[in-house]
Symmetry: C2
């Protein structure tokens, strides 16, 4: 594959991403200025919206129309356990928490603990279960409201999910999953069935509460093929099509290609990384937009748009537009060196992780409050 | 399809069945005289074995070796709810009860209440659930020991089954189910996944009791493709290959082709049929081996081997070999008319159903005693 070519599927994101191309190929809509303003009227400002990190959607206008009519929606997002949580995961969930708070919405958080087991040859079932426990801690640590947040674990709640998944599955042929996910005759039959399990939380609250409730799914754009299929099927079962709001990927340390991913361990920053580890990774791997020598840098300035330390500030760690702008200008002018920029990012990440790690440990006793219990 | 050609898959049995061909094609073993004797030493005589109604097996010798060593097995059979129970179903379960009693074995009885929903276009989920309740009554009415019999319902026990089914599914590719079940790209993804759910009860007791326990599956030979696949996979997951003992099909009223099946309502006798209904069906449809006129019949005699009323006596309703032989000879000689033979069968079936229907109604309050409860 040439470096310029990109590939975005639920299981692989590679290459330099052209989000306009993704919008066109996936058939999602860009969030217009008008729609953003309408959203902000209810939620207040959010830098992830403002900076186009959440940049695309499906049926968001319809969802807000329903909301205005008093037809409240629930939020559905999830995490497929297969490794430790990195910053790329947290980004989506921080925005999800913002939405939950702003709309006072119920959140159904799915942990499809069979997905990666089915898709990764060498991942065994027991390890997936260990990651499940670990991953739940990170979600809880972000401060979701336990009264309004329900963890749905595919294997544990299969008695709720599987019957509904069968109803979805009856409407999906192998041809459809072949074209949506690039599966083939060598795919295992668990992989083939899987998308019907991922569809269920988009209407499970409607089934439980015996009324049709709109659903909003905040997710990274690579998951869109699942929900595109889900949107085709759900009206056939008498449910609303779920709306979605989609974000781009937090880039890996190595540069603006692909996404931060657990498959390249040293190129991701995990929530359990020590301050020293964060420092080492940023200093060693974070792709720099600076010039080769200090002299050149001072003269010509750096390029913040390709600088990963700057990107992390923009995506997650410097919500203040004014401060971000100052760093941008200072780096671009050459006044700020790459070393200085990296140090700002290291400090910001470590500040955040110090708190997060405390909350994470405190979350151990709270898991049971979040796991959905049937009445 | 020519009338002589037969087709045996888990979803279709048609044509005139050549069981020797089925044995060869499926790769099962005929139950030898020696093996039958060894079995009878433990169980005592059984007319279904003696008359080769249960005629084939896989690994039965191994199972008895283990039994002799003190390694007891459990029995697994099942019923996929999609309609009322007919005599063909009862036949297998009567033999299953005989085995349970003879070996004092635990029985795990699966109700895969999603299977027919997934495979029958017009069957809806709610109707399947109604049949599930109805079907359980028939099983209970046969007198299984509730202390040793556990009903496993796919949708209700999915929290137990689905995680294990995923482990099975990871080892089965689409190519494998294509060749085993004749599925194709237009098959829905629930159908494709389904065989992994059917595999689970063959090792679920081993998972629950945390030790490897041999399994015996009594079933009609058309289900063999499921268990052949199951037998390939289970050793890869550390479990025994399940042994099986397989029966031929109770023929439909119309003659010795295919099997009694709910898809042709008037050609099957249901456990809820009234005495009048049984009489009507046998008189109207039961294929007769008699001659066209009484005079001819008296002179040349009838053919009990193709006479369906006689077959029902042989398969289910006249366990006494001596009496069966008398009827055989009498009919063959022409002394017994088709009308008389039909009347014997009608009386036998109605006698049985009168008791069965009483027990069936009394079973309503007992369903909860049979549904498996986790500790």
């Amino acid at each position: 594959m040439k470096e310029e070519e990109s590939n975005v599927t639920p299981w692989e994101v590679s290459g330099k991403l052209d989000y306009d191309k993704v919008i066109k190929e996936f058939g999602v809509e860009k969030i217009s200025e008008e729609l953003q303003k309408r959203l902000e009227k209810i939620t207040g400002k959010n830098f992830m919206l403002d900076r186009k990190i959440f940049f695309a959607h499906r049926d968001l206008k319809w969802l807000l129309d329903e909301y205005d009519k008093g037809n409240k929606f629930f939020i559905y997002t999830g995490r497929s356990p297969s490794g430790s949580i990195h910053l790329g995961h947290l980004m989506t969930w921080q925005f999800t928490k913002f939405l939950q708070d702003a709309f006072d919405a119920e959140l159904w958080f799915q942990f499809p603990d069979e997905e990666k087991f089915l898709f990764k040859k060498d991942l065994n079932y027991e390890d997936t279960q260990k990651y499940l426990e670990e991953n739940m801690l990170d979600v809880i640590a972000l401060g979701f409201n336990p009264k309004k947040t329900h963890f749905i674990i595919d294997t544990k709640h299969a008695d709720l999910l599987y019957p509904e998944a069968c109803k979805v599955a009856k409407k999906i042929t192998f041809s459809m999953v072949k074209s949506s996910f690039g599966l083939n005759d060598s795919s295992n039959i668990g992989q083939i069935f899987y998308t019907s399990m991922q569809a269920v939380p988009a209407f499970l609250p409607s089934v439980i509460k015996k009324k049709n409730i709109p659903c909003l799914i905040p997710h990274a754009v690579d998951q869109d093929p699942h929900f595109r299929l889900t949107r085709d099927i759900l009206p056939k079962l008498g449910h609303y099509k779920p709306a979605s709001i989609q974000c781009s990927f937090l880039p890996p340390l190595t540069g603006n290609s692909g996404k931060m991913s657990s498959s390249k361990e040293d190129y991701a920053i995990y929530t359990i990384d020590s301050p020293k580890e964060v420092e080492r990774k940023i200093k060693k791997y974070a792709f720099s937009g600076g010039k080769d020598t200090l002299e050149e840098h001072r003269r010509h300035g750096g390029n913040p748009d390709i600088d990963i330390s700057f990107q992390y500030l923009k995506y997650m760690f410097e919500p203040d537009d004014k401060k971000l702008r100052e760093i941008y200008e200072s780096y671009k002018s050459g006044a700020m060196t790459s070393g200085e920029l990296k140090q700002i990012t290291i400090n910001k990440i470590n500040e955040f992780l110090k708190e997060h790690q405390k909350k994470r440990i405190a979350s151990k006793s709270r898991i049971k409050d979040f796991i959905y219990k049937k009445d």
